[in-house]
Symmetry: C2
């Protein structure tokens, strides 16, 4: 079994052309860091562990991934440009196709940290093969998708978890 | 805002033609009662409260609904034949169309206790307008759907929560 966790970055500073002329540099707020830490702690308490942790190169996503690592949910995150805003699922699948599909205990768990609306759209493509924008994914929210062990995964995956952050605090 | 929680009954006794010649009489097991109580407690801790609680007439569903009431998640449940196995969403909508769409604090929360694969199929019809059987709904699992305040709800609703029971214990 292969489980994919799509995790949206935590609450970040507001867009501001003077303070953050480059939107990619916008950091998590102090409250965002605190809340994301609580959520990471809860995910660890639920027994989650990720064999792979990929993150968008944007600062707010990288900070979120670091918080997950500090909660012992995974080891060092890998930066993937495919997870930047407007990244394409098909490009991410190029990476996905290179990794071994069995882990130590038989299962493999992958987490990706990224942005909306991309994460919800990726999940919809995996599950229904098309985008309908019907999944509500708040900041620091998590989507859990079971990917088939082999063969086509687009439209062939199953949704097992969607959780708003307020239910993880 | 209108929130619909679709809740699958807890773990019940195995089908057995001698002990339970009428499948509708199969009760929750002791372990099923215990686990469902824990989940109900957690739902209450998360701040949930249902203005309406409807249950399938089958014993295992009625017992689950009673546990929700005992956890103060709602008052007395109402039995609805539409929630029995193979019940039709369209028939349930006849009831839904009769209730007021605003509550004390503006929002209305409705919970229905029923069976698989029906609950997952109803949620899919509400969200995507069609059934694909791609939602994993374990016993005592919960699906949360936001229904639009007015107009068509089939294919116009949004999924905000899907939770396996192991993440509610």
């Amino acid at each position: 079994m292969l489980q994919l966790y799509l995790i949206r970055h935590g609450i970040a500073a507001d867009r501001h052309p003077q303070t953050y002329p480059d939107d990619r540099q916008r950091p998590l707020t102090d409250a965002g860091v605190k809340k994301t830490r609580k959520i990471a702690k809860r995910l660890a308490e639920l027994g989650l562990h990720f064999d792979h942790l990929l993150t968008s190169p944007l600062i707010r996503a990288q900070q979120t991934a670091e918080i997950l690592v500090n909660a012992k949910l995974s080891t060092k995150p890998e930066i993937s440009a495919t997870l930047a805003p407007a990244g394409e699922l098909q490009d991410w699948l190029t990476w996905y196709n290179t990794i071994p599909k069995t882990g130590n205990n038989g299962d493999v768990a992958i987490a990706v940290v990224g942005h909306q609306p991309d994460l919800g759209q990726w999940a919809e493509q995996l599950i229904w093969g098309e985008v309908r924008e019907k999944l509500i994914v708040k900041k620091a929210g998590v989507i859990g998708v079971n990917l088939p062990d082999d063969g086509e995964i687009i439209g062939q995956s199953e949704l097992f978890w969607l959780v708003p952050p307020r239910f993880l605090l």
